[in-house]
């Protein structure tokens, strides 16, 4: 399992509001998803188009979008290289969903953990020589 898949798995596990999530790159290529490949690609294409069109409004650097409809809500959050889109049921707690999505993006962006080099075998400590009982000398 890749880091991206693991991040999405954890996301849907911890957030009861998120029904599905798709992680994709700036070109719209799906990196990981909790739904089937063809559906994930359709979500990525629509979410990318939504971001591009929304980016022309306001003039600033768009970071996240929430679209609320009668069918449910779509959340889109982006960072420098990747975008995550998630669907929820109607009227979710937006702040919580955004927080979970940002955490998932960070987790997915983490480089894979390198296996730790094995520590050199420590030399076994030598058993201490028993101190000789002090002799008080001849009585």
């Amino acid at each position: 399992m890749t880091d991206a898949s693991a991040a999405l798995g954890e996301l849907t596990e911890i957030s009861s509001q998120i029904e599905s999530a798709v992680l994709f790159d700036a070109a719209g290529k799906v990196l990981a998803a909790t739904i089937s490949d063809d559906r994930a690609q359709r979500v990525a294409t629509s979410a990318k188009a939504l971001l591009e069109q929304a980016g022309q409004i306001g003039g600033g650097d768009l970071m996240q979008v929430e679209a609320s409809t009668g069918q449910g809500s779509l959340f889109v959050v982006k960072d420098a290289t990747t975008v995550i889109a998630a669907s929820t049921s109607a009227e979710p707690t937006a702040g919580l969903v955004f927080y979970d999505l940002k955490r998932a993006l960070q987790a997915a962006a983490k480089p894979p953990a390198k296996p730790k080099p094995k520590a050199a075998a420590k030399p076994k400590p030598k058993p201490r020589a028993k101190p000789k009982p002090k002799s008080d000398g001849p009585a």
Binding site: S20, V43, S46, D61, T69, Q71
Partner: protein, 68 residues
């Protein structure tokens, strides 16, 4: 008697249709898009805004794909 029943039935069906249409209209009226920018500003576009229409179209496409 039959005419009265027919009138009552027509009234009931009409009322139900009216309630359904009202509820649907109310739901569509709640559709909106919130845009959050890096500088902390927020732009909220309601469904009656011309800028929101294409964004909601993409959002509905994505939601349809996600839930189908």
């Amino acid at each position: 008697m039959g005419r009265r029943k027919l009138l009552a039935l027509g009234f009931a069906v009409g009322s139900l249709l009216g309630i359904g249409l009202y509820a649907r209209r109310g739901q569509e009226g709640r559709d909106r898009v919130d845009l959050y920018f890096a500088d902390g500003s927020l732009v909220s576009l309601h469904s009656d805004s011309p800028e929101a229409a294409p964004l909601l179209l993409h959002a509905r496409d994505a939601l349809r794909a996600a839930t189908s």
